[in-house]
């Protein structure tokens, strides 16, 4: 074994090569987006490792399901039945309101808002380093997932699809430092841009003048501007307003309504018109695909 005299190019040359190649890759990736299409293949190549990493939590879930006690199941069933009852009561009112809204819109000659196709997907991996906040879903190009598609949980907007693989896709959360979402306040329709701060429970509203009427507790929903997120889904609630006149803008902090730290099942949205009327997907054991009837 000869370790004193290295073979091949010397160590320094190897380092310089590696650094130059890395810098070239970073520039090509971030400035010119040159790997947009090849990322799909790279992700698919690496997905066995992701499935492997996900195995312990899947096994834990399966065994937890097997070992659930009878009382727990009865309790859960009771709770869900109550919830369905409440929901269907609201649904009855919703149908009437929807019809009324359509008629009013017809009177005003504005197009009525079409419904959305939805699909439930499951969380595969979470990558929330302070630098980038992303999650991986178990639906990909095979399920018609597309780039910058909106992703929701049961409370509000979670993020948008940033990379699509064959069987999984990567979602950038609204709290990522490089992400911003156009919102409006429900109370008075003032528009804001809510950008991520890198911490899971904070969004920052940017460039808000001191005179703007914004208060703690204001609900912010997507404004539909920017054509990424559909209009009217809840995003965040204003949690802190600091009006310091020595600063050019007021500091407005909002808390996302989606529970970004405990995501499990997520909803993917397809705006209507981009697809033909879809069949209702077969409901399998652990995932349910929902089709909206509107």
């Amino acid at each position: 074994m000869d370790t004193i005299f290295t073979r091949g190019p010397s160590l320094n040359i190897r380092l310089i090569l590696a650094l130059v190649m890395s810098v070239a890759l970073i520039i090509a990736d971030t400035r010119f987006d040159m790997f947009q299409s090849s990322r799909v293949y790279m992700n698919s190549l690496m997905s066995p490792l992701q499935y492997l990493a996900n195995l312990p939590s899947v096994l834990l879930n399966v065994s937890a399901q097997r070992l659930t006690s009878h009382e727990d199941l009865v309790d859960e069933n009771q709770r869900l039945t109550n919830q369905v009852l409440l929901m269907s009561e609201r649904m009855q009112r919703f149908d009437v309101l929807q019809a009324e809204n359509d008629q009013l819109r017809a009177l005003l000659d504005t197009p009525s808002k079409p419904g959305m196709r939805k699909k439930v997907s499951e969380l595969m991996a979470v990558e929330t380093s302070p630098f980038s906040q992303q999650i991986v879903l178990n639906k990909g190009a095979l399920d018609d997932v597309y780039l910058s598609q909106s992703v929701l949980d049961d409370r509000g907007i979670v993020g948008q699809v940033s990379e699509v693989g064959t069987t999984n896709s990567r979602v950038i959360l609204i709290t990522d430092v490089t992400h911003a979402v156009p919102v409006r306040s429900v109370r008075n329709n003032i528009r804001f841009i809510a950008s991520g701060t890198g911490s899971l429970d904070e969004l920052l509203l940017e460039h808000v003048p001191h005179s703007v009427d914004v208060e703690v507790g204001d609900m912010l929903v997507t404004s539909g501007l920017g054509h990424v997120f559909p209009e009217g889904y809840p995003v965040a609630q204003v949690s802190k307003v600091t009006r310091d006149e020595s600063r050019p803008f007021a500091i407005v902090v909002a808390k996302p309504v989606a529970r970004l730290d405990r995501l499990r099942y997520l909803l993917l949205l397809w705006p209507e018109g981009t697809d033909d009327p879809q069949e209702i997907d077969a409901v399998t054991e652990d995932e349910a695909s929902v089709e909206d009837a509107n």
Binding site: M1, D2, T3, T6, R7, L11, R14, L15, L17, A18, L19, M21, S22, V23, A24, L25, I26, A28, D29, T30, F35, R39, M42, N43, L45, M46, L49, Q50, L52, A53, N54, P56, S57, A125, V126, E127, T128, S129, P130, F131, S132, Q134, S162, E163, R170, V177, T178, G198, L200, D261
Partner: protein, 159 residues
């Protein structure tokens, strides 16, 4: 046995990659040790003619794909850390395991500072001291990984 002997370095790196991305509760996640860096460090010190900057670069690309960061970020940090180790492997081999643990801590700090620095240039994130928790957990993990991998290396007589 022949197969394990030939592929053991790659297999150990793959296991480290899986451990690096395995989902953890968010409270524990900030203490996650740098599995990949530790395993690479061991092989760099043990077999510097086989595992050095080239392997570190490839592993870094794999990490970038798995973590969804821009390609090249982890490969820069890993290449630099492994280069430092390869350049000094003869000295480092003579240290005791605890002295090596301190060196691993320094290398891990370098790794995280480089990672932060590159990402700061790209996205402008502010620095928080909690980014450096993995340095401590990596130091604590090093003796065990060292012992485990050395046992594996002797068992399969890898060189």
């Amino acid at each position: 046995m022949l197969k394990v002997r030939h592929y053991s370095v790659i297999i150990s790196i793959l296991i480290a990659l899986v451990l690096q991305i395995i989902p953890l509760p968010i409270q524990v996640d900030i203490y996650r040790p740098d599995w990949v860096l530790i395993v690479l460090s061991y092989w760099t010190m043990a077999l510097p003619h086989r595992v050095n900057v080239g392997v570190a670069f490839m592993t870094g690309i794999a990490m970038d794909i798995l973590l969804g960061t821009a390609l090249g970020i982890h490969s820069i940090a890993l290449s630099l850390s492994v280069y430092t180790l390869t350049a000094n492997y003869q000295r480092l081999r003579n240290y005791s395991v605890w002295q090596q643990a301190i060196i691993i801590g320094v290398i891990s700090a370098l790794y995280h500072v480089v990672l932060f620095w590159v990402q700061h240039l790209l996205t402008g994130i502010p620095f928080q001291l909690s980014y450096l928790w993995p340095v401590v957990s990596s130091m604590l993990l090093w003796p065990w990984i060292f012992w485990l991998l050395r046992k594996a290396r002797r068992q399969f007589s890898i060189n």
